[in-house]
Amino acid sequence: MKPEKNNEAVALRLRAEQRLSGRAQAAGAPAAAVDAQRLLQELQIHQVELEMQNEELREAKAQTEAAAARYADLYNFAPAGYFTLGRDGAIAQANLEGARLLDCERGGLTGKRFGAFLAAAGLPEFNAFLERVFAAAPAQTCEVETAGRGDAARTLRLEAALCAEGGTCRVVAADITRQKACERDLEKLNAGLLAKNREFEDFLFITSHDLRSPLVNVVGFLGYLSRHCAEARALQAAPAADGGGRLKELLGSIMPEELDCISASAARMDSLISGLLRMARLGTLELKPEPVDMESLVDGILKTMAFRLNEAGAEVKTGKLPPCTADKDRLTLVFSNLLDNALKYRDPLRKLVITISGEIAESGAVSYTVEDNGRGLNAEEAREKIWKPFYRCKPRGAVPGEGVGLTISKRIMEKHGGVIKALPAPGGGTVFTVELPFKGGK
């Protein structure tokens, strides 16, 4: 026996003797044979000792039960999911949060395989994780998707450790669905920012080169103009040297032509800069979304363009157009640009037919299409380039404009959180699709 155990026994003996002497006095034991008396006393002391031990055991048992109940509460109501899994992944035990995470009554979990509650695609990964855990690899973690449909599916982060007996493992499951959604949003935002950045770089390159192009003309023809001015001045000072009427040629055609080139290039720069300003203004534009009656919006545009449409002999077919929520003025600009392009790039060999239609998708998103039977954009490359600033499908002067209409339309749609796309139309021509996301309401 250890010394303290020994001491405990001695103390118990002393306490038992005290209690017994109290009892004996109270009972007033009669005097009898000394041996029998001593034996009896010994036995009585043992009896009391046993009673006291019994009392202590009862107390200890009550304490243990209280502690067990506390731990059971902690286990059952913990904010994390706890599971005990067998080697085959069968659930031996689970807490309430664990059952909630798997969208199942706790009673229905026992004996079922954990994998049965997961999305099938993630099963191999989960099985490999379980194998690692039972191979006693320390601190194993794994992310799994539960089998719930749509929004009910959760992403769980599992952390497991092998139990001491080696036949089961304990798994802690945390719901990281929201965290994952945030991560995905962040990734999407990041990708969007990167794309915007590239677009911005492109924009800078394009605009600086487009602006440089007329400048090359201005400086180039100024160079020739000053050279020809000097030549004219010299000829004027010594008319005798001008045998072949060079002065007349310089003043009558060469120099005026150079001046024409310079002023045409200056006008081109002016037009490029006004296009740039129109795009720049969009950057600071605050959209004013409101419910838009699309049919009256398109009607309005067609009335404004009626003269030009008639002149071109165009036919416009309008289907049923669902309403949407958007900035009315900007949306008018987008559809004016599309109709304007259909007119500008029509096929001269056939009658222009423009079809405008719309539909509401199941998601509530609204999409409209403007289809023409014009010259079309057959090459995929061309369909990408049309969105770039100052891109022209035809030589400058062949059609009026700055080449920013579609660039601006695309920016407007992006600001709405929508999209604008161009696809080849069956039978030639182009289909422009304008999509607006669902904005609640009706």
């Binding site: 390159f205 080169h209 090359v216 400086v219 080139c261 035809k394 030589p395 400058r396």
Partner: protein
């Protein structure tokens, strides 16, 4: 000069949508002493159509000065189409363009252009660039197609 060896002189093709630029290149070429015949093409489509018809003519030798930024089919697309054509791929192509976007320059060299020149804004710099181009034209050997 090109006429020395009794052969047809190289015809310089200028594929350029900007009238001013086309004229400046022609004037500067004249100033640099290049007197080869010059033929102006207004855009990518016209350039491809011309070369399809005349570029395979055995008696003619051509050198193409090609601008990148043209409406419709741009210079890079023209260059790629030429290099993909068995009989036109030996035609020397010099990009003469305002674009100094490194991505464009790389795309042109990768597509197989012979040279890449950026049109400078300055009058003298432009003249110098064309003079260099003139020297290049004088020494270049154009293989028979």
């Amino acid at each position: 000069m090109a006429e020395e060896n009794n052969e047809m002189p190289i015809t310089i093709l200028i594929a350029e949508d900007d009238d001013g630029h086309a004229r400046l290149i022609q004037e500067h070429l004249k100033d640099a002493g290049v007197h080869n015949p010059i033929h102006r093409l207004r855009d990518g489509e016209e350039t491809l159509a011309f070369l399809e018809k005349s570029g395979k003519d055995k008696d003619h030798k051509y050198l193409l000065l090609l601008d990148i930024k043209m409406p419709g089919i741009d210079g890079i697309q023209v260059l790629k189409k030429l290099k993909a054509d068995e009989r036109l791929k030996t035609l020397p192509v010099i990009m003469v363009t305002t674009t100094d976007d490194p991505r464009d320059i790389e795309a042109c060299y990768r597509a197989g252009c012979s040279n890449y020149l950026v049109k400078p804004v300055g009058f003298t710099a432009f003249a110098e660039m064309i003079t260099r181009l003139g020297l290049f034209i004088l020494i270049i050997k154009v293989p028979k197609v």
